[in-house]
Symmetry: C2
Subunit: 115 residues, 2 copies
């Protein structure tokens, strides 16, 4: 059994200004999927992504916007979002909101810095 806390995990800043903490990475034995904690603020420069693996997101605090093609949804605490493989997506905070969420991915598909 492995335990950590958000406050104990090093925060990494991605090239687009997102902040990410890898709470449960492969290194602790997680072979199927990995858990990350994101913080998005005004310093983030959102960019659209598309890749052959899915995201599962759970919003913890603040409000954010997820765009996918012509669809745009506003999300907030308690929302769970599934973004399918190869679905284009852009994630940003609502202006002046500190937007935090968990994002799970299949293990081994993203590197630590990219997030």
């Amino acid at each position: 059994m492995y335990r950590t806390n958000v406050s104990e995990v090093r925060e990494i800043k991605t090239p687009h200004g997102k902040r990410v903490r890898w709470l449960i990475p492969r290194e602790v034995g997680a072979k199927n999927f990995e858990m990350r904690y994101f913080t998005i603020t005004n310093e983030s420069q959102p960019s659209e992504e598309s890749h052959p693996w899915e995201h599962q997101v759970f919003v913890l605090s603040g409000k954010g916007i997820i765009q996918s093609g012509d669809t745009e949804i506003t999300v907030g605490p308690g929302d769970a979002i599934y973004i399918a493989p190869d679905e284009p997506h852009l994630v940003k905070n609502e202006p002046n909101q500190v937007f935090t969420f968990l994002c799970m991915i299949p293990a081994g598909y993203e590197d630590r810095v990219k997030g």
Copy 2:
């Protein structure tokens, strides 16, 4: 893209008195892993489990206790816990605490009622 909220998902009571909401089940396309939301109160009758799939837990509110063999840890908000395949585990609330957490599992390994 699929979105739901904890408040919109039907709560199921398991035979041991846990309450579970399947936020992101296979039915919405999640082929690799699934996301559930648990609420454990005094009405839960904790029981030790062991099975060949892992758990990833993120604590949202309240305090709980996770036992694994001779190890017992108290967990609270912001804690992330990895329970390995075949590791015995028992999860309960601290007395009089409403303990809520997310628990992710590989897809297809648990049925809706068992949780």
